[in-house]
């Protein structure tokens, strides 16, 4: 029973345009959300996070939006660059077990030059 879902296995975007990656969750107890980026043959690396007390967090070209009522978060990358091509995982944790991160199945982003 996946509590964090990424329904788009892949996304293709032109360089310079916006990439929007989506993530849905089912557990209303989740209060901390993260995005990880993974290149082939490497482990995932932390990208950006957001606490449930906020609805937006920005770091350079990366912005995460949180819609608690819809149990939905999204990652926006503007402008997209070919080096952004990777698999992106969203993850969530909650006050009931703050150590435990629940990961989605990942979205493979391809940014075309």
């Amino acid at each position: 029973d996946q509590q964090v879902k990424q329904n788009s296995p892949s996304l293709s975007v032109q360089e310079g345009r916006i990439s929007i990656l989506n993530c849905d969750y089912t557990n209303s107890m989740f209060d901390y959300f993260l995005w990880y980026k993974k290149y082939p043959a490497e482990g995932p690396t932390f990208l950006i996070s957001i606490s449930s007390i906020k609805d937006k967090n920005e770091d350079g070209r990366f912005t995460v939006f949180l819609n608690k009522s819809a149990k939905h978060l999204s990652l926006h990358i503007v402008p997209s660059q070919p080096g952004d091509s990777a698999v992106y995982f969203c993850a969530a944790s909650g006050i009931h077990n703050f150590n435990k991160f629940y990961f989605g199945s990942g979205t493979k982003l391809n940014v075309k030059p």
């Binding site: 901390y32 490497e42 932390f46 996070s49 077990n97 150590n99």
Partner: protein
């Protein structure tokens, strides 16, 4: 440059053999996590430790998998006996938890396991 290290990076073995994967967490981190990545399930949490004590191994098949932390610098994940369905990439991650706050997790490069 502190990193999580994992050995071996690749392992090919035959069904029924024992497999041991090792992880060295980042010095000073007090939480260690084992994940498995498969095509169908994405990243699944198998087990995690805090201050070397196992806190949750509910994601791990108990009959064949075991996870331990002999000391603060070493975590191991063992599969005995291994089966073809165990073929996956196994990631170790470490982090720093203080009170009710869990900082982000830092992942190792993974062990790619193939069981024939």
């Amino acid at each position: 440059d502190a990193r999580v290290t994992q050995t071996p990076r690749h392992k090919v073995t035959e069904m029924g053999q024992e497999v041991t994967m090792r992880c060295q967490p980042i010095l000073g981190h007090n939480t260690v996590f084992w994940y498995r990545q498969t095509m169908m399930q994405g990243l699944e949490l198998l087990a995690y430790f805090r201050n070397r004590a196992p806190l949750d191994d509910s994601g791990m098949p108990k009959d064949r998998f075991s996870a331990e932390m002999p000391d603060a610098t070493l975590a191991t994940l063992k599969i005995q006996p291994s089966e073809p369905r165990d073929s996956a990439v196994y990631f170790c991650a470490s982090g720093l938890a203080a009170g009710q706050l869990q900082e982000t997790q830092y992942f190792g490069p993974g062990t790619r396991l193939l069981v024939l």
